[in-house]
Symmetry: C2
Subunit: 421 residues, 2 copies
């Protein structure tokens, strides 16, 4: 290893409002340490490593790097490229190490979810087998909040805040115009875990407040039960506001949506297309007979910098700094975790978990966070999420009153190897 | 007329982030004038008048009334109840005047769009025919920005700001993850006029910025042209971000969506359901072959108090105050308008237009605001909208970091008449 090695930072999977804050923490801590030579970024995550498509983050201005904390999505670039299992083929892993070697990279910081932690772990193990000095540290990132070994995940607090406020806003809309637009469905992300949909429960401060019903992937979805729930709320309030996770599944574990769904053409007279919202709307209009509309926030929820949580931004930044510090202290093969202290005031510190433990886990909503009827959340859930949405994250505002986000200059690193893919 | 008459305030149609600000302007100006007895609110708009379902706004605390400025949707309640034409039946109009008479109401302030202005005009004319002293003043309100006789409409600036920021945020998401989520569609409200979709053009500050294509109801939609546009952007940037108004129509004026659409089951192998986004997604995936996702903001765009325009809130409030002042000055049968001054700095004052002129007009995007290719907007459009999105409207924030909105106590006014509907 050179006296001052290079480090590489990469982002993976779905963007969040704060993944750039984590990356900022790594970069600023690294540059400030005086212990490294250059910070490389991998264009579009691990794809950029495989294709040797790197750029020099240390050549960026300090203002640009600092503005990462106020820019959503994934400024280095992300991807969903799935590496083959090393048992199947070691080619991708060998290539990654070859690229690291060619550019004197001995530290790999990877911000992502459990697939990314799995990748980082495997790269780390192969480097060790090959005798290449490499330190791999994971930085947690996912709006889904489903990573094991950590109290919560950077990215979740911001999506929770945005979705809760969206439920409040659209809830007031539903309340104002219920005489015609009687039912509103807000579709939240979450294929396997209902953390995001559950956070919308924060909006329900009193009986009138939206959401009145929340449906989660953790609970097997029953159309009969659903119809009864909607009728019940409608009879009480004259209107209904529903939050539905996109990944609702029936008792056989099948998505209730179109392509794979348990409702076919015959049941409702149409071929079913689209997602959860579309099918729930159809069911309500047919079975309850009230006009229903749906809002599908889509990628807007995971990139909503204009209403991100300051707590989330700060914790994401702290995770990034901790990742670099841990590497300097000789840690390897770890992911930074968030530990909620057992104190009256919310207080969160960082820890470390083995990459392999994170890679193989998935944290769903525990039973005590879901109400007995399976159509809402408990106070325990709200107590869990409330501290995570605190504070308004700042963002730069242009003379036109709209957000201004940074972009890297992207000074390319000259390629040294043959084309791989 | 009693020495100090009562006034009534009602809201109509789709909620906005600032219709409550307008109502606040009327109420505060009325109470401050010392010239009126009580301010009544009509629960759920004109429906509340017809059913004599009124409440006493003057009994509310001044804090509650002031918090209207920081609460979205329509706090008095709204509706889409369509009055019959007086030529068909005068029953509804007679009832309205009967209710006004029973409660000594001589001023009617109606916040709404062109249908509401039509209603107010007809009520006014019938009152005059019947010799009942009534002053009807309209307060402009519509996110659609399609009212005649006014430079723009309260409600539009806020939805423009939210949709532009949403395009920025989701645009960065698309840019970060384009290697898999290559195309994003953001669906904006707007059945007949493309003002909201056009405002998203503010997000496009440089070539890379979303949106790359904007489709408006004013331009006949061609699938062939659309596919060519998407292919062109994809070839240049490797990704595509589209803003589509919900009301896109083909050259025959038919919505391109499912139920009435020009594309049937055969063309794409599925029965077409849902809105514009769903069909555009299908077309892109089939014809361009890139993965496409869509975000449908729905009612979240018209109620987004957490990112409303301060300019919009202030102008809405000014419209409300002007409405009351105009009534006191002897005006009748008018709607308050916004007049953009011909000055280097943006400066907006109020005027008055005849209700009948507003009722019969509809303002679509002028040709000079749409680019020659019909898939984007011009600088003239951006110059028009930019001043309207300036400033961040304040809202109350609770100890949990989330918005807090007001609700009226709703002290009911005792009914004096027989049931009508």
């Amino acid at each position: 290893m050179a006296l001052k090695p290079n480090i590489i930072v990469a982002q993976s999977g779905g963007p969040t409002a704060v993944i750039n804050s984590s990356v900022c923490g790594v970069i600023q801590q690294a540059i400030g340490s005086g212990k490294i030579n250059r910070v490389f970024g991998a264009n579009n995550g691990i794809l950029g490593v495989l294709t040797e498509d790197l750029f020099d983050i240390s050549a960026e201005s300090s203002e640009t790097i600092d503005a990462l904390k106020r820019t959503p999505a994934a400024a280095i670039g992300s991807c969903r490229y799935k590496l083959k299992s090393p048992d199947e083929s070691k080619a991708d892993y060998n290539r990654i190490i070859e690229v690291f070697k060619a550019h004197d990279i001995h530290y790999f910081f990877y911000a992502g979810g459990n697939d990314s932690m799995d990748t980082a772990d495997k790269v780390n193990n192969l480097a060790s087998d090959m005798g290449y000095e490499l330190v791999c540290i994971g930085v947690p990132k996912t709006i889904d909040n489903d990573l094991a070994c950590t109290d919560h995940c950077p990215g979740y607090g911001s999506v929770a805040k945005y979705v809760a406020a969206s439920a409040m806003n659209a809830g007031r809309d539903n309340e104002a115009l219920y005489t015609t637009d009687t039912c509103t469905i807000l579709e939240a992300m979450g294929r396997n875990a209902g953390w995001i949909a559950a956070a919308a429960g924060l909006a329900h401060r009193c009986r009138q407040d939206a959401p009145h019903l929340i449906y989660l992937p953790e609970i097997a979805f029953s159309f009969e039960k659903f119809i009864a729930d909607v009728k019940e709320v409608y009879s009480q309030l004259g209107r209904v506001f529903i939050v539905a996770a996109e990944g609702l599944k029936d008792q056989n574990g099948q998505y209730i949506t179109a392509e794979t769904g348990s409702l076919g053409t015959d049941s409702f007279g149409h071929a079913q297309l689209g997602g959860v919202s579309e099918i729930l709307k159809l069911v309500i209009e047919k079975e309850v007979g009230i006009k229903t509309r749906f809002n599908k926030l889509g990628t807007n929820q995971r990139s909503a910098m204009h209403f991100a949580s300051l707590t989330d931004v700060n914790e994401a930044y702290m995770c990034g700094k901790t990742a670099f510090k841990a590497a300097m202290e000789g840690q390897n093969g770890k992911m930074v975790t968030l530990i909620r202290q057992d104190s009256p005031e919310y207080n969160c510190t960082t820890g470390l978990a083995n990459l392999s433990d994170v890679a193989n886990g998935e944290k769903k909503l525990p039973a005590e966070f879901i109400n007995p009827a399976g159509n809402g959340v408990t106070d325990a859930m709200l107590d869990y999420v409330r501290p995570l949405v605190q504070g308004q994250a700042p963002f730069d505002i242009g003379p036109d009153g709209l957000p201004v986000y940074m972009r890297f200059e992207r000074v390319a690193i000259q390629k040294k190897l043959a084309k791989y893919i």
